[in-house]
């Protein structure tokens, strides 16, 4: 690897820890980001000449801190005397290097940094955008491209979100075990959302948004390194890895959706699969089930089937039933109905769908599943109505196109027989 590529990768990898630590010293996100920026520039000058430091993160934290302190001192000469106090408070406890670079600090620094991005008043998309900017270090331009908005619009969103974070009380006290668990929940949710934002993108935008999935996996792994025995973080990481393993074959060459059953499983990413399966196994050993673990276990059941027809649908139905108990949601029930249709037939599945008609009245997948079940039962007219509703609710062109292939099949069948499709 060339020097510059190595330095770039090292800066990228050290970023969450370094900014997290700088945020702890300066208690100001802008100062922390500027300090890191300054340290990165210095690294680009110094490392190629002197060679990389043994611990790039520690180097960046020290250099960033000194440069920001210089700034504060310079301002202090011109500004109000209360800066002296700030200066003293910054310098006094910051002497003991070993204490500052302690692993537990590192863990809380990174968790705090991720947690402030998940401020509950911020809309989900802003949480993700801020995390991508601050924690992952993506440029505003890269983030804007991922969300298909203009750079200036994204700049505005991020600035507004950061102002909101700055106005909120940033939790600087070192959390206890319960406090850490409380922070982990929203952070895990944000990472999952980030992944889905990249994963649900389809068609021509796919290549632009795949980096969102990569960043989500990077963050999940980072979180898991910090919390190696949290089963839900294992579950989250496994879920992302197992889903991402299918990315190479989720879309055909025209950007059309290839459903799980039709995917060429030989092209799934075996490395990601193996890692995901191991993490599911590790998590289940701890016997503290949770929604991410169950979803990962479901993904793992699909992964273990060499062919679609080998899928253990009874196991998947069981896992969805467990998930329903932990996380009551009509979407989970909808998913269980698909497993039920494989185990007990479309009639049983339709019965499960009935109570969902109201809560999922605006949900694309509900009508897609309903139409497919009705089609299996030979109720072509009702199937057509459901599919037409699905197309109206489709989120992307690829989703609409996928449903249209079902409609075309219905039309062709009825043209041939002149009758509804027999079961």
């Amino acid at each position: 690897m060339t020097d510059l590529a190595w330095i770039d990768a090292a800066l990228h990898a050290a970023r969450p820890q370094a900014i997290g630590a700088l945020l702890r010293y300066f208690r100001d996100l802008d100062i922390a980001e500027e300090a890191f920026q300054e340290a990165s520039l210095r690294a680009l000058q110094v490392w190629p000449v002197k060679g990389p430091p043994r611990d790039p993160a520690a180097w960046l934290i020290l250099v960033g801190r000194n440069s920001a302190l210089d700034d504060v001192r310079r301002k202090a000469r011109f500004e109000a005397p209360e800066s002296d106090e700030l200066l003293a408070s910054l310098e006094a406890p910051a002497v003991d290097l070993a204490e500052r670079l302690d692993d537990s600090h590192y863990r809380d620094d990174v968790l705090r940094l991720l947690f402030i991005c998940c401020h509950p008043e911020l809309p989900a998309i802003q949480q993700i955008a801020v995390a991508l900017r601050i924690v992952c270090g993506l440029t505003v331009r890269e983030i804007a491209r991922s969300f298909l908005v203009s750079e200036s619009a994204m700049e505005q969103r991020i600035t507004r979100a950061k102002a909101r974070i700055a106005a909120a009380e940033v939790p600087f006290e070192t959390p206890g075990a319960a406090g850490r668990a409380e922070r982990l929940g929203p952070v895990a949710a944000m990472i999952y959302l980030l992944f889905n934002e990249g994963y649900s993108a389809t068609g021509g935008t796919q290549h632009v948004r795949a980096p969102l999935c990569d960043e989500a996996i990077r963050l999940a792994r980072l979180l898991l390194r910090l919390f190696p025995s949290e089963p839900e973080i294992m579950g989250l990481t496994a879920l992302l890895l197992l889903q991402h393993a299918r990315t190479p074959v989720r879309l055909d060459d025209e950007g059309g959706i290839v459903v799980l059953e039709d995917q060429d499983r030989a092209l799934w990413n075996r490395n990601l699969m193996a890692e995901g399966l191991t993490l599911v196994e590790k998590a289940l050993r701890l016997k503290r089930p949770g929604p991410y673990q169950l979803q990962a276990a479901i993904a793992a059941t699909h992964t273990r089937a060499a062919r679609a027809e080998d899928t253990d649908w009874a196991e998947i139905e069981r896992l969805y039933a467990l998930l329903e108990q932990l996380q009551r949601s009509p979407v989970v029930t909808l998913n269980r109905s698909v497993a039920v249709s494989k185990v007990s037939g479309p009639e049983a599945a339709l019965a499960i769908l009935e109570p969902l008609a109201d809560p999922l009245a605006g949900y694309f997948h509900f009508f897609g599943v309903k139409g497919a079940l009705l089609m299996q039962l030979g109720r072509a007219d009702e199937a057509r109505t459901a599919f037409e509703r699905a197309i109206a609710l489709a989120n992307t062109a690829a989703e609409a196109a996928h449903i249209r292939t079902h409609l075309d099949r219905l039309l062709k069948d009825s043209a041939q027989s002149g009758e509804p499709v027999p079961h």
Binding site: A9, A10, H12, L222, P228, M234, T237, R270, A274, T278
Partner: protein
């Protein structure tokens, strides 16, 4: 003399490489392995999964199984076993037996991501394989 070469780098950096970069790295390794095999110098080659996939057995009065890698620096790496087990549970059980037999302070069980058996008896090259569900263990 047989030698082992242990490879170290920052995992955060390694796992954030893109698929293309990683494929290129693997290709470079494979080219090098073929050269070393032709020279008759190559034994087994192993690429480990990230430490997040590891489990560590700490031996004291009781053996405690901890999630995550062996992270202390007070002990040194003494040796390793490669095991072929259908589940992580069985790999941990086998590691327990190794621990009971020779009593090291800690044993880390780390799944293997990529395994190449090395040159065969005729000096030919055994094709590298992905390791799927097989879990092999690395003992610290």
């Amino acid at each position: 003399m047989l030698y082992s070469v242990l490879i170290y780098d920052s995992e955060a950096m390694v796992t954030s490489r893109s698929k293309a970069e990683d494929d290129e790295l693997v290709a470079r390794h494979v080219r090098l392995q073929e050269k070393l095999a032709r020279e008759g110098k190559l034994g087994p080659v192993v690429r480990l999964m990230p430490t997040t996939a590891a489990v560590t057995l700490r031996q004291g009065r009781d053996t405690v199984v901890i999630d995550g890698p062996f992270a202390e620096t007070k002990e040194q790496l003494l040796g390793l076993y490669i095991l072929d087990c259908p589940t992580l549970e069985e790999a941990i059980e086998a590691a327990r037996q190794i621990g009971a037999a020779c009593g090291p302070r800690a044993l880390e069980v780390r799944p293997i991501r990529w395994f190449r058996a090395g040159a065969d008896a005729e000096g030919g090259v055994v094709t590298p394989t992905d390791v799927d569900s097989q879990v092999r263990a690395n003992v610290q």
